[in-house]
């Protein structure tokens, strides 16, 4: 076996007695390194496993880590010398209770242990997103309808800020870690109107006398004058809305030829321009003032109330775990208790942490009173990360935290150890990745752009050969998005057929074998347009893994159940009753519904005198179910449907495996929420999910033996396939969504919601754009580095040319 080219760095990672940050590129075996370091610490430093904290990014990784560690400890035990055996045996025995956890899991333990002395509810539960939303909505509705609050809220509504926006922004503000102080004076609208009103009247009169009636300048000033007159006649409460809406018809107009005194038109145009600018300014000032008012009101009044409410219900949100853990770990007495608890604190995927998480972790390995790493407290921190694979910005991950901790480790006497030997991909793939990203990323961190990771080329482990391993395709350059996707999909189907037909060799643990469908993955950045790829592959009889999207509540079988719940809750709801009949649970046609109507049938299932026999059969059932509905649980309603309809039998015959999986998931929801809330509350919740089209993961379909995987980049992280096809790759959307945004780094909050645009918007959007572009590159890096033996990159949506392209064999 060849020694890795970076063996010295790997050895140092196991042995160094200072704080370490292991910067491990894709496929370099970082999990193995983490496990080795634990074993090394247990055996050679004789540190019990109970004094090691290992933080993983996901729950799943936690389990994986535990299994890997168990396997490695057992392996070591088999060949261990006598003196080391008790250490390894003790570690194995304590493995089930080892501190291997996610950061949220660790914070939860901290709060349970220390929190009750600091206002954390005793015996708290962590609310799931559904319960959090429900409690928040209830709390907000009561708060906002309080007579004390009503005038302020009504004023904002009168300003033209819609109720859904106010509610959404309030929710966002509640999710911020802190609320900055915002101050903005409301502009003097009266002064503004007074300033322009007389001049407008004067200019309009002058234009009437001077310009020909058809002149656009004359029409324009008269329109402006009318606008101001209307404004003056309206109650002042309406002025902000009216002024903000006044955005049209203000580009200066007019033709000097139509004017007796052309200079007057010039003068008028300048005035119109000044009005236009003043309106834009006042609109921005109002936006700033409204933003400050709402942010302050929510921050000052509602956030504390919301905290009291959830804490009073003995519940914490997922975010609370971090926020409160960070708060209580500032307390010296808590620091004291934690100071010597762990001899080694290890964090995996450190590039995906944020500032709060980093603060909690730092306090475990630095002296009491210090919030940063310290030269005199070394050797207890072991971080592993790769800033090039930081792709969870949307979830709050902040690669700049990584960059600053990286700096801190180095400046306080710790070591940064890069690991570059890649054990995954063939040289052709690595060459392509290296060339592509060497051109995009600097070799060393650039403090000016801390969100752009430094790049170190990945070193190949396997020898090169003469097979075609890589191809970059840019198809259908002038086509529409759908055409590009169709072209890519056809090409992908061709190459898959060819690979399977020719039995392209792929590596497995024992050597090489011909490729199978499950060796192939189609990796996409997002699901838009995915159907085209799936349909094309299926039409060519290529088995594709049934896709688990986020439209669970929009699936036919689930919508059918929604209709059933609605119909049973309310027999007057004709649409729900008809929806049930049209669903795959009953399967009636529109023709049969029309026949029912023509036979005098009713949509109220209580009325069964006339109608189509198939409808009446179900009406009798619904009537009988309705009578018992209020005394049963949600799962019983599902059971009624499952027993009465042939749908389960049809699905079990293979008609729609995804639907069958969804029904199983629906049963779990019925149990989890239905038993917790009761039938009516469940029906209300279910209705909200369907009608509001709330995204929810579709059930995973148990895999067939062999099929091509379809995966987003985020799902693909940490995985690998022999043949990876990266397709549908569009430049990342980098605009900020409308609404309000807080950028703690800049200390700024901004608003954009037609017609409001606050002062800081451009600055925040620029900051966001640059970081999103950088994340787009990182996503591509993750996608491309999933390939072991073959990589096909379809870049039809990208304009740039790519560094490497090798011909398909035989061409």
């Amino acid at each position: 076996m060849r020694m890795p080219i970076d063996q010295a760095a790997r050895d140092e990672a196991l042995e160094a007695r200072v704080n370490l940050l292991i910067e491990a590129g894709a496929g370099t075996g970082k999990t193995t390194l983490l496990v080795e370091r634990v074993v090394e610490t247990v055996v050679h430093r004789q540190v019990p496993l109970s004094r090691i904290l290992l933080i993983t990014f996901m729950d799943k990784a936690q389990e994986e880590m535990r299994h890997r560690l168990q396997a490695r400890l057992q392996e070591r035990l088999e060949s261990a010398e006598e003196w080391a055996r008790p250490l390894l045996e003790a570690a194995l025995a304590s493995l089930p209770d080892a501190h291997i956890t996610t950061i949220h899991g660790y914070c939860q333990r901290l709060l349970r242990e220390f929190g009750s002395a600091y206002g954390i509810p005793l015996g708290f539960q962590v609310m799931d997103a559904v319960d959090t939303d429900r409690l928040w909505e209830e709390t907000f509705r009561d708060w906002v309808q309080d007579p004390e609050r009503e005038p302020v809220v009504l004023d904002l509504l009168h300003a033209g800020i819609g109720w859904p926006h106010l509610r959404r922004w309030a929710k966002q503000i509640c999710e911020w870690w802190d609320v900055p102080d915002l101050n903005a004076d409301f502009p003097n609208l009266w002064g503004f109107v007074a300033e322009f009103r007389d001049a407008a009247a004067e200019l309009a009169e002058r234009a009437r006398l001077d310009a020909s009636p058809a002149d656009p300048g004359r029409t324009q000033i008269q329109d402006i004058n009318r606008q101001i007159e209307w404004l003056a006649e309206m109650p002042r409460r309406e002025w902000p809305r009216m002024l903000a809406q006044w955005t049209r018809g203000l580009a200066p107009k007019g033709n000097k030829k139509n004017w007796a005194h052309p200079d007057w038109l010039t003068e008028q145009k300048e005035w119109v321009q000044s009005l236009r600018e003043a309106l834009a300014q006042i609109r921005q000032q109002m936006a700033d003032a409204y933003l400050a008012e709402w942010v302050s009101l929510i921050g000052r009044e509602f956030r504390p109330l919301w905290r009291r409410q959830r804490f009073g219900a003995l519940s914490l949100t997922f975010d609370d775990l971090l926020i409160e853990a960070e708060r209580i770990t500032r307390r010296p007495e808590v620091r004291q208790a934690l100071a010597n608890r762990f001899d080694l604190v290890m964090v995996d995927e450190f590039q995906d942490t944020d500032a709060l998480q980093a603060a909690v972790i730092r306090r475990l390995v630095s002296p009491i009173g210090e919030d940063h790493l310290h030269p005199h407290d070394q050797g207890r921190l072991f971080l592993v990360g790769d800033p090039k694979q930081s792709i969870y910005r949307f979830r709050g991950a902040d690669v700049e935290t990584y960059a600053s901790v990286r700096r801190e480790v180095e400046e306080t006497g710790g070591r940064l150890i890069p690991i570059t030997q890649n054990f995954r991909s063939v040289p052709a793939v690595l060459d392509f990745v290296n060339q592509l990203f060497e051109a995009r990323w600097p070799l060393e961190p650039n403090p000016e752009v801390p969100y752009i990771p430094p790049f170190r080329a990945l070193d190949p482990h396997f020898p090169d050969d003469d097979r075609t391993r890589l191809r970059v395709e840019q198809l259908c350059p002038a086509g529409s998005a759908a055409e590009k996707r169709r072209a890519e999909a056809e090409d992908i189907a061709d190459v898959i057929e060819r690979a399977l037909g020719e039995g392209w060799p792929v590596r497995d643990g024992r050597g090489e074998r011909p490729i199978l469908p499950e060796d192939i993955a189609l990796i996409i950045p997002q699901r838009t347009g995915l159907d085209i790829y799936r349909q094309t592959l299926e039409s060519r009889h290529i088995p594709v893994a049934a896709q688990a999207g986020r439209n669970f509540f929009q699936q036919d079988e689930i919508r059918g159940l929604f209709h059933l719940f609605q119909a049973l809750a309310n027999p007057e709801d004709a649409l729900a009753a008809a929806g049930w009949l049209l669903s795959p649970w009953v399967g009636l046609t529109h023709q049969e519904l029309a026949d029912h109507r023509l036979k005098g049938g009713s949509w109220r299932y209580g009325e069964t005198d006339h109608g189509h026999p198939a409808v009446l059969k179900w009406w009798h059932r619904l009537k009988s179910w309705h009578d018992k509905f209020w005394r049963v649980d949600a799962e019983t309603v599902l059971d009624w449907a499952m027993a009465a309809s042939a749908l389960p039998a049809v699905l079990e015959r293979g008609e729609d495996r995804a639907a069958l999986a969804n029904l199983r998931q629906m049963r779990e929801l019925c149990r989890d929420f239905g038993d917790r809330w009761g039938i009516f509350e469940f029906a209300r919740w279910f209705s909200g999910q369907v009608l509001d089209e709330v995204p929810f993961d579709e059930a995973r379909v148990p895999g067939r033996e062999s099929e091509v995987a379809v995966s987003t980049v985020h799902q693909a992280k940490g995985l690998e396939w022999p043949f990876v096809i990266v397709a549908n790759w569009k430049p990342k959307r980098t605009a900020l969504d409308s609404g309000i945004h807080y950028n703690p780094r800049l200390g700024a909050v901004a608003l954009r919601q037609e017609p409001w645009l606050s002062r800081e918007w451009a600055r925040l959007e620029d900051d966001h754009r640059r970081r999103e572009e950088a994340e787009g590159d990182r996503l591509l890096y993750v996608a491309l580095t999933r390939a072991r033996d073959y990589l096909w990159f379809y870049a039809s949506f990208l304009d740039e040319r790519f560094p490497s392209e090798s011909p398909v064999e035989g061409e």
């Binding site: 002395a117 015996g123 399967g587 023709q591 109507r597 027993a643 069958l660």
Partner: protein, 803 residues
Amino acid sequence: MSIIVYTGSPSAVHRHWAARLESLAPRERNAAMVMTPSRRLASLLARLPHTPPALAVDDWLTEMLPQNIMPLPSASWYILSQYMPKLPAPWHETPGLPLAVAELVKEGRSAGVAAISPEASGQLPWDRIWQWFDEKLNRGGADALRMYDYALKTGKVPAKSGGFVFVYGFSDVTAPFIELMRQWGEKGPVEAWFFTNTVDAGTLRRWRARQVSLPEPQGAGETLGIRSALEGLDSLDVLARWVAPQIHDHGWVAVSPDERDARRLHRALARCGLPVDVERSTEEALWPLFLETSRGHSGAAVQRHWHQAVRGRVSVDWARQWWERAMQAPSWAILGRLVEEARIAHQVEWPHLSRWAQDIQIWDAWFPPQPESTAQVLPQIPAVSPEQPPSSLLPVLPLHEAAWIPNAQVLFMAHGRSTRSPRTSPFDQDGAIRPWVRRARGYATDAVILQQMLNDAGLKRWATADVEDVEAAGWEDAAPSEAPPVDASDLDRLQGWYRQWRESPSYSAYTGDLTPETASALMPHRLSPSALEDFGKCPLSFLLGRLLRISPVDDEPREVDAAMAGQWAHRALEVMVEERRILTPEAVQAAVETAVRDLPAPPSVARFFIRYQVDRLSAELYEALLRDGWAPGQAADVEMNLTWERIWPMAGRVDRVDQMPGGGLRLIDYKTGHLANPAKPSPGNLQLLLYQDALYHRYRTPVTAELYGVSQRAQYGRRQVTQAEADALRSQVDEILAGIKERMDQGQFRPVPDPRSDACRMCAFKPVCPARVTEYAGVKARQDPDYQSLWMGEGGEDNADAD
């Protein structure tokens, strides 16, 4: 007199105890009494042969209480925690701490702890806390500790004179109970049966202890473990299917950590065809339904169910007033009377609730009810006893009771010990408290019992689902039984649904196609322009709404929706013009308020949202009328009805018609949403031109038709069509109408929303629309360009969402 204690493995105890009972002479059996820890267990044991009468110890203790003392009613510890004096810093702001303290005291007293010494914990003033609880409990109510005291004072024995007292079913014994046993032992024979290791050695040494064992060890117990779901079933179903055929033969009991799990298993058994009752009784379910109705949290659907259940005996108003009165009840006694009043009004028994209503007045000696605590306490009180005798089919018990049923086999539900992690307490580090806290809490006992059962070679079988940490011998897969038979015609029908709708590339009867005869029979005698526009926006929505007359119901809207706001706007404008009011903000507001009175919002809409809409509409309509140059004197008519012929007999109503000073008419159609351009007709944008045509033919005078956007959203815009323009567009409109007619005549009402409009956004039929599955709809749409050609003509852009 003496006490004999028998200990052994569960199966040995079962066997010997059964033999012991069998050995009793009838006279001895009649004089004996079996004391059990719960009413549930007593009820189950009493069903077994040869068993003397059985009584739960709590029931016996209650009988011993003096007349003026009663056991604490349900939720008492919760109520006490609500009124507990404020704890010192830093605890005083910790949510949940008072309840935790109350529960700790409760557990301590159940375990026989007389007080927690202040030295034992420097964290809280335990002596004062204990004293506070003692004071409350000495005033008419009694907890376990005091009940034992009273029982000891009476010196009574549960059995008849000289009869045996059998102590059976206790997985743990507390100090006061031991004292009670001692007293019984002084007056008659007592036999106590315990599992090995459940009672500490010190206690056993005080009495004659005998080890019982099985004469012939049976070998390892059989175990079924079900760890993973089978295709189409979850593990609970697999478990239920495996157990179902054996329940009657083998005396199964089920173990459930809480009631929710029990219900899950019952439902799984019901799915297997066993006659398990998965419906709550009316008595049980009516109380929470009444509370939901009376609190005003419910919509019309809940109220309807409640009405049906009480058959109109109680009105919603009465229920709401009842809640108000309950919240303002000045004493617990009055609250109790209110509960009784509700029970009588509903004409039900509600035995547990009724008893609670009598007992709760003990707290009047100390503190009156407060609305907040009343609102939280009432839903906690079940209407029927939570300790109902268990179902004979499959009793569901906690583990520490289930293990005592002789010959029973034990079924663990989806959770095992791994899910019952010990609760943490800030007081756990207190050495004086820990022993009895651990003993008093179920999980510790469960762990001991579970270990007993794992080690018990005599137990026949037990089954678990998804219990990871139980090292079960001989895991086996349980094959699902055959699925119930399905009607073949239903199967064909649903397969047809999948094949023809989901997979077929063409439209069918699943996607709005009717026979021409059916379509013809359904068509109304007259069509309105808005109905035609509905077809143009989406033929399927026309079929569902206009022909089949399927109407959606929003059961409990919380806010005023766009449709309702639009109706209010139209009605307010009608009032303004009809009454020729002087244009002032106040006049418009009055008109809007009239509209809201005439067309009231559903009761579920909060006052705040109505107020907001009234304010918004008042401002916007005032602005709109101001911009229009308010001249109601010109109005010849408002809400004018028209009938005419154009391909079909037609009928409709226009918002307003003005007589213009220079001659001719102005037709105004108010819009609160986006304005489409009427000069660019399309199937979804015909209305104004059709009205113009009708008006022109009625009065034979030129008509200028105008859409007027009376809202900020419509930017107070205007879209006009002169008579000359309308004449020029006539053939184009005829062509579109002919296209519509052709499709209607053929019975084609397909889910093809006008691509230039945003027809789907507000469509009420979205939930039943097959076209929402865009992937499939897209395939069909590509297959039938002829049908879609009607919507692909020139013009008609900017057609979104005109209302």
